[in-house]
């Protein structure tokens, strides 16, 4: 089945130690998103790629970076994780085009713990 896959599902890192989360998709969607979701809160968009074009949200900290080497893969790099970065990180994809109101398909998420 076509899907959005995130690895790892759980990640533990130490304060200040860089970490990379990965996302892959078999849907061949041209838009990929990274969200941060903290407990009992709505997903918060960090950035997204429209094909190769990177779009950063204004309030996304510089500590967060992203790479999209090809259509299928997207990575979230947290350069120096702080305790406040502990959260669920959700990857999502959508097929942009037409009127653009397309649903987003979410991966299962990576739960990041910072010690």
């Amino acid at each position: 089945d076509a899907m959005v896959i995130q690895n790892p599902r759980y990640q533990v890192t130490q304060f200040g130690k860089p970490v990379t989360l990965s996302c892959s998709q078999t849907l061949n969607h041209n838009v990929m998103y990274w969200y941060q979701q903290k407990s009992s809160q709505a997903p918060k968009l960090l950035f997204h790629y429209y094909d190769k074009d990177f779009n950063n949200e204004a309030d996304t900290p510089d500590n967060f970076q992203s790479r999209r080497p090809n259509t299928s893969f997207c990575f979230l790099d947290i350069r120096s994780p702080g305790l406040g970065d502990a959260a669920m990180y959700l990857c999502a994809t959508s097929r942009a085009g037409g009127r653009g109101y397309n649903e987003q398909f979410f991966g299962p998420g990576t739960r990041l713990t910072v010690l």
Binding site: Y33, P43, Y50, L90, A96, G100, Y101, E103, F106, P108
Partner: protein, 111 residues
Amino acid sequence: GQQVMQIPQYQHVQEGEDFTTYCNSSTTLSNIQWYKQRPGGHPVFLIQLVKSGEVKKQKRLTFQFGEAKKNSSLHITATQTTDVGTYFCAEYGGSQGNLIFGKGTKLSVKP
């Protein structure tokens, strides 16, 4: 900036009771999407509403878009324990498909 307000934040119901969550905006919404997130899970798309006054049904779920396109609602008839989760409304806020989520309504159902 654009913002969708969602109420209530929490709702506890007895199994078999109805449930409604509301999404409101001070500005005209271009569209509304609804997502469900089960405990420990990820958001899953339920429906999209685009037209003024639109009503869509999925089994026990009824989705409405207001005539002025400033509000939307999700109504569940005769809740079941499988309905447990957080329901989010969301609007497409950008030209490249950025979703702006409401804060969600967390539904718990007592058997």
